[in-house]
């Protein structure tokens, strides 16, 4: 049977400014949701509280960033519409943040890699010509500095701790390394936003990130992995290609809002 040829409609030109804000917001929304899975399950009470606090900060940052994205987009979508009523292919987060939480070492290692990226990025964005974004970045930077202290100190404890903790956190870093290139990657959106004075310089961000991460890994007696073969690197999250894990996360995160649209409590 021959199917009629379907000519796809030309994809609408994405608004780079909106895309940029969605990437920032979605990274935090998805990681905040992931991290909140530890609530009630962390190894010690202080850690349970700390991870819930960090998750709440991330969700708060996501709320503001997605709200701003909706305003710039001008289609009447607010932060809730963007969080609860988009499909997985419409999410713009990198794949690093959607991976299952793993063990405690994996969670901490992922937070650390992300937190370093966050402080470097927010620091740069305090100079954004988008004054709303600059204001959000200034405050988020203060929060992110506490986040990276938390994850960074744990990297030291685990890396320079017992044989078991060292082995687990080294394995986590090794497993996560192929998701790093996507976190640091830049495409037309990043370049356009940087040139417009809105976004951070992706090249400078990547350089700073490597220096800061390497410094802590060395102190933690951990080995910085070698770059992974290009074909093995994660890619596609920024344009909606995700791992199977995102769909499951969204199902849990979105079900109440979708089952009871417009509900208030």
């Amino acid at each position: 049977m021959t199917s009629p040829s379907i000519v796809p409609a030309p994809a609408p030109q994405p608004n780079a400014h909106v895309e940029y804000l969605l990437r920032l917001g979605d990274d935090r929304l998805i990681l905040g949701q992931r991290l909140s899975e530890w609530c009630g399950h962390a190894p010690i009470l202080e850690e349970d509280i700390a991870m819930s606090n960090v998750a709440l900060d991330l969700l708060g940052q996501a709320t503001l960033l997605l709200h701003h994205a909706g305003e710039i987009e001008g289609q009447g979508r607010d932060e809730d519409a963007l969080a609860y009523f988009r499909e997985a292919v419409e999410f713009r987060n990198c794949q690093l943040v959607e991976l299952p939480r793993g063990d405690f070492a994996f969670t901490i290692a992922r937070q650390f890699l992300f937190d370093v990226h966050a402080v470097v990025t927010f620091d740069a964005l305090t100079r954004s010509s988008d004054t709303e974004l600059a204001a959000l970045a200034a405050r988020s930077l203060k929060e992110a500095k506490y986040h990276v202290r938390h994850s960074g100190e744990w990297m030291l404890r685990l890396g320079d701790g017992t044989e078991e903790s060292h082995r687990r956190v080294q394995r986590a870093i090794d497993d996560l390394w192929r998701f790093v290139p996507e976190l640091l990657a830049s495409d037309g959106v990043d370049v356009a936003m940087h040139e417009a004075g809105i976004g951070a310089d992706p090249v400078a961000i990547a350089e700073q990130w490597h220096v800061l991460v390497r410094e802590v890994l060395e102190r933690a007696t951990l080995t910085t992995p070698n770059a992974v073969a290009r074909a093995a690197n994660a890619r596609g999250g920024r344009t909606g290609a995700h791992t199977e894990h995102l769909g499951h996360l969204l199902a849990e995160m979105q079900i109440v809002a979708r089952s009871h649209p417009g509900a208030t409590w």
């Binding site: 202080e46 850690e47 509280i49 700390a50 606090n53 960090v54 998750a55 709440l56 900060d57 991330l58 969700l59 708060g60 940052q61 709320t63 503001l64 370093v116 402080v119 470097v120 620091d123 004054t131 709303e132 600059a134 204001a135 959000l136 200034a138 405050r139 988020s140 203060k142 929060e143 500095k145 506490y146 990276v148 202290r149 938390h150 960074g152 100190e153 030291l156 700073q208 800061l212 410094e215 802590v216 102190r219």
Partner: protein, 165 residues
């Protein structure tokens, strides 16, 4: 108060609105009231800056502010601003003394330093119970985002510190 609101009158009302998480400090003492605007029609706008991005208290604070002003017969609204970002440096000494009397170590000066500053760079918190400086931070994240959990070696008590932010 009279039908025509004054800035002083509004501020006096705001002095009565307490932070829901730290009820010894008013919203003014917390430093989150950035401005009060009164237009020609007598409509009041209170400009508020939130503390942490994820602080769940902010909506309660906003509704408490509106309740206080509406209760005084004013037409009032709250506007949120994020710039400049809130800092604990806006909490004055008298308010810090109230925090201490309540059992929360007041915030010290905000930390300087690099983007990745592992290990607390600010001085150890002073125990609000025995005033010992021989204290250690157990976690930078306490019962709320704005507080750290500390332990006093002097009197053996745990206590919270309002984090420098």
């Amino acid at each position: 108060m009279s039908a025509v609101p004054t800035r002083e009158g509004v501020l006096a009302l705001l002095d009565q609105v307490m932070d829901p998480e730290v009820p010894v400090l008013s919203v003014r003492e917390l430093g989150i009231i950035r401005d009060v605007e009164i237009d020609e029609a007598g409509d009041v706008t209170v400009v508020v800056t939130p503390t942490y991005s994820g602080c769940p208290a902010i909506r309660v604070i906003e509704s408490d502010i509106l309740e206080a002003l509406h209760g005084a017969g004013l037409r009032a609204a709250v506007r949120t601003t994020y710039s400049p970002p809130w800092t604990t440096d806006w909490i004055d000494d008298a308010s810090k003394a109230k925090l201490k009397a309540y059992g929360i170590a007041p915030p010290g000066r905000t930390e300087e330093g690099g983007l990745v500053q592992l290990m607390r760079a600010r001085p150890a918190a002073q125990c609000p119970y025995c005033e010992s400086r021989q204290t250690e931070v157990r976690s930078e994240f306490g019962s709320t985002a704005c507080k750290s959990v500390n332990w006093c070696r002097g009197c053996g008590q745990p206590f919270e510190e309002f984090k420098a932010f």
